[in-house]
């Protein structure tokens, strides 16, 4: 007797013989339950391929077995919940927005009847994605594809993505209190949002207690911490910021503006690394103009970058923007870290001398500078030392590439095989000198936005 489940496995694993394939087709034609079994198996395959991480309560869990599956998870599964990573969802959403942009630019607008599933008269946006989202109330639909009316959205935790009818997309990060004001306008009362604004939605306006931000194309991030301040970070393109006094100033990618109830409190400009994303559950943070001796190296360890000897770290790196990466990701074999650069830059990656150079490093276009930097990891219980050449535990080799235009560059995993000696790489960037032809660095593989 034929084992149908085995037949389905052979088919999906692409190892079925022609004769067995004919058998499968024959039984599938006559057996709806078996067709359903085949589809169910495909659903499992599909979901297993998607990025999933394990979380405990509201914070990311270091013991995610996808990341360290060869280790026994010592925590009780009862306290765990699964969530799908926001990165993939954001990519899907950006893809969707791109498609909509395509419609906008490639089709006419013939008059047709409105769709049968009509929304309320004040619906002006769509809930396009959510991840572990917990809403404070049910005043708005919480299911994907739900039409959102003008009014407040109170997100207790998780993330939710709202696409305005203008096609502007706002990613809400809980806890957050946001209000949909109109088809191309929102208000952030508290918390953090990221706005991605395609050309069609240029003019998207986000009000905060301390002023307003008008997007003039592309992307920005806003954090509101009432009653203190509003921080606006321009990731791409240009925004106009209107402060509480009515003063209007334009800011460009790489600018960070702080607003309070007095007006514009401070401006930092020419920030090079303006965004970092990863498929990790761990934190990746940007430190601007901050790479110097004793700079904290990782977000999850009390380690420091230092020069290998008394001469210090390479002078070119002093004051560089850098990313505090997560040491806990050293065994995450599908790690992706994407940095967004506001302008041309020389991008550096520090690779531990204790493990082989990952193939993506040279494939991306990085070249070995021959420079070194050291990690003071306070090994063996000794205290962190101060200054270069003191207490270096692991030497790292510095690789670099020139990135000739603003955009995104993605870094891969630390290693492909288990290696307890490995360490997560460091990332840094410095401005690319104009007309620089002396470096010999090869042209990078850039992923333009």
């Amino acid at each position: 007797m034929i084992d149908h489940a085995e037949l389905i496995s052979e088919y999906l694993d692409d190892r079925i013989t022609a004769a067995r394939f004919d058998d499968l087709q024959t039984v599938l034609r006559s057996d709806p339950a078996l067709r359903r079994q085949l589809l169910d198996r495909a659903v499992i395959d599909q979901h297993l391929r998607e990025p999933i991480s394990l979380t405990t309560g509201s914070e990311s869990d270091d013991s995610a077995w996808w990341n360290g599956y060869n280790e026994v998870d010592s925590q009780s599964p009862a306290h765990h919940s699964w969530r799908w990573q926001p990165v993939a969802a954001m990519a899907a959403l950006i893809c969707l927005v791109g498609l909509i942009g395509l419609i906008t630019t490639t089709t006419n607008s013939p008059q047709q009847p409105a769709p049968a599933a009509v929304q309320g008269p004040s619906a002006v946006a769509l809930l396009t994605n959510s991840h572990g989202a917990v809403f404070a109330d049910d005043s708005q639909p919480t299911s994907l594809g739900g039409r959102l009316s003008a009014g407040p959205i109170r997100l207790v935790s998780g993330t939710a993505q709202v696409m305005f009818d203008s096609t502007a997309v706002v990613d809400l990060v809980g806890p957050c209190e946001f209000e949909i004001v109109g088809p191309n306008r929102g208000q952030l009362r508290h918390g953090e949002v990221r706005a991605f604004v395609p050309t069609a939605a240029s003019g998207f306006t986000l009000a905060t207690p301390h002023g307003s931000i008008v997007d003039l194309g592309t992307a920005f991030e806003v954090t509101v911490d009432p009653p203190n301040d509003t921080i606006v970070r321009v990731i791409e393109g240009r925004v106009a910021v209107l402060d509480i006094n009515g003063l209007n100033r334009n800011f460009l990618a790489g600018d960070e503006v702080s607003l309070n109830d007095q007006g514009i409190a401070s401006v930092r400009q020419n920030l090079l690394i303006v965004d970092v994303e990863s498929n990790s559950g761990h934190e990746y943070t940007i430190e601007h103009h901050a790479l110097n001796e004793d700079a904290p190296a990782h977000s999850d360890r009390n380690y420091q970058w230092n020069g290998l000897d008394d001469s210090g770290m390479p002078a070119a790196l002093h004051g560089a923007d850098y990313v505090r990466t997560a040491m806990s990701d050293k065994n995450k074999y599908d790690l992706h870290v994407t940095v967004t650069l506001s302008r041309p830059a020389r991008l550096y990656v520090f690779l531990s001398d204790r493990c082989p150079v990952p193939t993506w490093v040279t494939e991306q276009g990085f070249v070995d500078t021959g420079w070194k930097i050291g990690l003071d990891a306070a090994a063996g219980g000794k205290p962190l030392a101060i200054g270069p050449g003191q207490s270096i535990d692991v030497p790292y080799t510095i690789w670099a590439m020139n990135v000739p235009e603003a955009g995104r560059v993605t870094f891969g995993p630390v290693q492909a095989e288990p290696n307890p000696q490995a360490g997560t790489y460091g990332i840094a960037a410095t401005p690319l000198p104009e007309n620089d032809e002396t470096t010999g660095l090869s042209k990078p593989a850039l992923q333009p936005q």
Partner: protein
Amino acid sequence: MTEQKRNELFARHWVKAQPVVMTYLLTILRSASDAEDVLQSAALKAATKIDQYDPERPFMSWVMAIARHEAVDHLRRHRRDRLVFAPDLMDQLAADAELLTDQMTDRKLALAECLEALVDRSRSIIAMRYRENLSIQKMADRLSMTPNAIYVALHRIRETLARCIQDRLTPPQEKTGD
């Protein structure tokens, strides 16, 4: 229909349809990368043809027909050597896949719970295959097993997951017959 309405219409429907279309494409193409390529081209085709969609009819059927057409076109151009389902069976599977529309999220959540219930070794095997994308031969080398034993192990684990998911999605009264 205004441009804005058209955009809304597509976005609203596509968010819900995409996982089911992907399941269907994986079923008939088997290769995840092929399925993703065809999913992209189907989305593009649907977006540009949204004017031709009759809102009185199910969006899922309309977009599934587009996906099927794109998949056949892909197979014709790239995969002449593969064993491919006959057209009538592709149609049957498309119709069956549409019935999954309202269950995708529940299935995903159930899978997450069922993964947690697996023993460590089974989870390691699944992670090697789906997270590291290791070949069967590499998995066999790493685990000191034969390739055939790996296939058998994967088959059993996936069957375990399938039963677990089914169990979690079946209401208690149906399970007990009460």
